[in-house]
């Protein structure tokens, strides 16, 4: 089990129409060739975008997986926020370099408001 294995599966899924078809037919079957924990398998077959983000999957890989599952862009962003709220900070990978504190704390650190207003605690009002 490892973040590397999770990301490797998603990397291969993103670039292979054939693997995409196999995954559509039976989501768990193509995962057999990867060294994954039950937690990781569950996140990949549900799919649980928030959990995958918490596990450390890079957004450049994760966004295509979300799109493949017909998840709209703003919903994808919200699912990642929900994942941090539910499971805690990003566990490892690039986003854990400086500790991912969550959007609000990060905002305070940068001294800037989010331009989009999405995900603000006041609902973007």
């Amino acid at each position: 089990m490892s973040l590397y294995q999770v990301q490797k599966f998603l990397y291969e899924l993103n670039r292979s129409p054939e693997l995409q078809e196999r995954y559509r037919a039976d989501r768990a079957a193509p995962l057999a060739g990867f060294d994954l924990t039950e937690e990781e398998v569950l996140a990949l077959v549900t799919p649980d975008i928030g959990k995958l983000f918490h596990l450390g999957v890079n957004g450049q890989i994760l966004m295509h997986f979300a799109a493949f599952h017909q998840i709209e862009w703003t919903d994808y962003l919200q699912l990642m926020r929900d994942g941090i709220a539910e499971h805690g900070p990003v566990r490892e990978g690039v986003y854990a370099i400086a500790g991912y504190e969550g959007v609000d704390d990060h905002s305070a650190g940068l001294g800037q408001r989010s331009e989009t207003g999405i995900g603000r605690s006041d609902g973007g009002a």
Binding site: N58, L62, A67, V103, T116
Partner: protein
């Protein structure tokens, strides 16, 4: 012969894929600036375009991550992403295998690079080409710099790559243009998507326009990540362009933060000093 064109531009997928969600005036300003750069590129009459991009786990992964990769094929295709998602139809893009090999051979004298005889372009290359060579009729030499999977290509090596590409272009008879893409501050595909550090971007562009090498190299990855997000790692491509245009100064045609595109949209070019 000496490079005929050196420019930089944003490559965010939202620029084409989320165009309908942007403020129309902002989007049109960006598209107009891209059109202006396209006109300049066409006027510079390149025989081929080197595109230095930062890939996003499309062709290169941590199973074998090159610091630098250069394409060496007569054709490529793109986008590798869903065309509906990106807003760019799938198309063949011409390459020039022979030219690539000559350039790579010269670059290798000072910079160790990987080469790739197949490459499916992601948005880092397709978005710029969509605007700058919309007929996809100019051979492309794709160049990747690892800005995605730590440990990343060091900044000073990206500068050396730029110097090596310039030397390689000098050594061939073809008219070569060089376009570097990516950046600047952004937090791509994460909950912070849309956050832009305008002050940081403007400071970086100031260093780039002055082609101030010590200043361009004066960043740590930890500080870049904190101030400019993972997207800030892509300054490596702009630094390579500065290296390729060493001695020249730059001008920014457009810098416009467009949050739904996730970046401060940038169109800039080097005013190449006569050699």
């Amino acid at each position: 012969m000496p490079l005929v064109h050196v420019s930089v531009c944003s490559h965010a997928p939202g620029i084409t894929g989320r165009a309908h969600l942007a403020d129309p005036a902002a989007r049109d300003s960006l598209y107009d600036a891209f059109a202006g750069l396209r006109d300049r590129l066409e006027a510079d009459r390149p025989d081929a375009v080197i595109v230095i991009a930062a890939e996003h786990f499309a062709n290169f992964f941590m199973n074998n991550m090159p610091s630098f990769a250069i394409g060496m094929a007569d054709r490529y295709e793109g986008p590798i992403e869903d065309p509906d998602w990106l807003g760019i139809a799938r198309t063949d893009v011409p390459g020039d295998r022979d030219l690539s090999e000559r350039l790579i051979t010269e670059v290798m004298q000072t910079v160790d690079v990987s080469y790739a005889e197949e490459w499916k372009f992601d948005h880092g290359i397709m978005v710029p080409l969509h605007f700058l060579t919309p007929r996809f009729d100019v051979p492309v030499v794709p160049v990747n710099v690892n800005c995605q999977g730590p440990p990343l290509t060091p900044l000073h090596r990206a500068l050396e790559l730029g110097r090596a590409l310039r030397r390689a272009a000098d050594a061939v008879p073809e008219r070569i243009a060089l376009v570097a893409t990516g950046g600047i501050s952004h937090w791509p595909a994460t909950p912070d998507s849309g956050r832009i550090n305008e002050d940081w971007d403007r400071d970086f562009l100031d260093r780039w326009c002055r082609n101030d090498v010590p200043a361009l190299l004066d960043y740590t990855d930890l500080d870049v990540y904190a101030d400019a997000g993972q997207g800030g790692f892509e300054i490596r491509t702009f630094i390579a362009a500065a290296g390729a245009a060493e001695g020249s100064r730059g001008v920014v045609d457009l810098y416009l933060p467009i949050p739904i595109f996730a970046v401060g949209c940038t169109i800039a070019r080097m005013e190449l000093a006569a050699t």
